[in-house]
Amino acid sequence: MTATSLVRFDHATLGYGRRVVLSDLSFEIPEGDFLGLVGPNGAGKTTILRAILGALRPLSGSVTLKAGLRFGYVPQRDSVDYGFPLKVVDVVLMGRYDRIGLGRRPSAADRDLAVQALAHVGIAHLAEQQLGSLSGGQKQRTLIARALVGDPNILVLDEPTNGMDLVSTTQILSLVRDLHERDKITVLMVSHALNEVANYVSRIALTMEGAFRIGTVDEIVNEPTLTAMYGIPVEVDEVHGHRIVVARRRPTGEMPRVNGESPRNGPHG
């Protein structure tokens, strides 16, 4: 493990019980990285994420975390119960819970930090609002503020734009990029939407039905690599400096096949 490495996979095979999901993974997440973990549903993104977060032990090989590594975790929005009548600032305070300690209450200083974290993501004015009354984008900013208030080494976002409209998606991705560039925070963003991630991150880890590739955006988001990974002809276009990945159109009625294999899911998962 290099000095700047926060997470290191060393020939790690991941799975559940006897079922192997991904085998022989070797890669690192260095400090200052902005990595997108991309793939369709069921391709193993969550499995890798769980291994990084320490919730899943590799079946073989190793997953090593830098000593004292602190995660700022932003879960999928649906995993949070918005039926709880909690103020936005109280939700952000949860990001301090592990520092506050068992059975202790947050102090005024913790509360100040929570308000500062909300200001950092641009929603300090919503601190006293009920979480359930916020828009999807505002909820996501709240969860990002909660992840930041614990002063993490790495920000981990699980499908941060899932179910969001174009405007909210752009705002959230821009916010994450700003946090990475301004605060030099390492970011791991998990997403099924390659088009969204490819235009914001520095590196991409792409996982598809047991296959795994990692590299810079240029190394991954190109036609030969994506065509090989997705199993269908893929086109990479550029519009106003934005990469757009599309499945190449085929004549009506013709099923896409590459090398005799059955088609896999397209770039959008």
Partner: protein
């Protein structure tokens, strides 16, 4: 009026016991309602009644010794076992939907309780499981209820933020190193203990009432967790006090009267909520 107050004072231990049950159940009820496990509460109450019936049945056969001599011991064992089962997510395995497992537990426990009582040699009527017998609470019973309620409420006061975190967002709590399963089991354990003790005096209906209606009243009237706990506790205590006080002079069964008052308070809270939301 003076006669009524004197009569109520005659049952002051019963009233105190009812207030304790209202207090403990209403605090836990906030989690029960917010976590959408209302019918787990109902199933546990029914399991508790089945446990009491099992104790009486076995005691009638001379089996179990001290364990079955005190029906609450069997109620505790059965209810806590059920609470642990639901707490580890046992209701969601084997391809059967969790709510269906809860329904099966409720139905089977209810039937088992009635059947066991019917064949128990002590031969008590099974209605007591539904309606309870608040008036039968003695000084010793109130002390036992106090000994159960205080530790449970202390645990919930001390570890409020832990219970809240694992209930609100278990995934993130897990990444923080929280043992989510432990906190879930502790929550369900306290629920099981309170239900098991409350059931033998209050009956299934009243325990279920105190687990649900005060928390619903709190949700209707308050914003924020502290407000909901405060309103839930206040409305539960008010329902116990007024319901009990009404049941004595009008010679009404105390449990259903308290439930009726709880329902009236929740209805009034709904009216207030409607009025304030349409005004704003």
């Amino acid at each position: 009026m003076g006669d009524t107050v004197s009569t109520i004072l005659l049952f002051k231990d019963a009233l105190f016991g009812a207030l304790l049950i209202a207090l403990a159940c209403s605090v836990l009820g906030v989690y029960v309602v917010l976590r959408r496990i209302v019918f787990v509460g109902a199933a546990l109450a029914q399991l508790s009644s089945a446990g009491i019936a099992l104790g009486m049945f076995l005691n009638g056969l001379g089996i179990g010794g001290e364990l079955t001599h005190h029906p609450v011991a069997m109620a505790l064992i059965v209810t806590i076992a059920g609470a642990m089962f639901f707490g580890i997510g046992g209701g969601g395995r084997g391809g059967v939907p969790p709510d269906a497992v809860i329904g099966v537990t409720y139905a089977v426990a209810a039937a088992a309780g009635i059947l066991l009582i019917a064949k128990a040699k002590s031969g008590e009527v099974h209605d007591i499981f539904l309606q309870g017998n608040i008036l039968g609470i003695t000084r010793v019973d109130t002390l036992i209820l106090l000994a159960v309620a205080i530790p449970v409420l202390l645990v919930h006061a001390i570890f409020y933020k832990e219970f809240l975190f694992v209930s609100f967002d278990r995934e993130t709590a897990r990444t923080f190193g929280y043992n989510v399963r432990f906190w879930n089991l502790l929550l369900y354990f306290t629920l099981g203990v309170v239900i098991a003790y409350a059931m033998q005096f209050a009956g299934v209906m009243l325990v279920f009432n105190f687990l649900v209606l005060p928390a619903v009243t709190g949700l209707l009237l308050a914003q924020g967790m502290r407000g909901i706990f405060t309103v839930a506790i206040a409305s539960a205590l008010a329902a116990a006090l007024f319901g009990f006080s009404l049941s004595v002079p009008f010679d009404l069964p105390s449990g259903p009267t308290i439930i009726a008052v709880s329902g009236a308070i929740a209805l009034a809270a709904w009216g207030v909520r409607k009025a304030t939301s349409s005004a704003s």
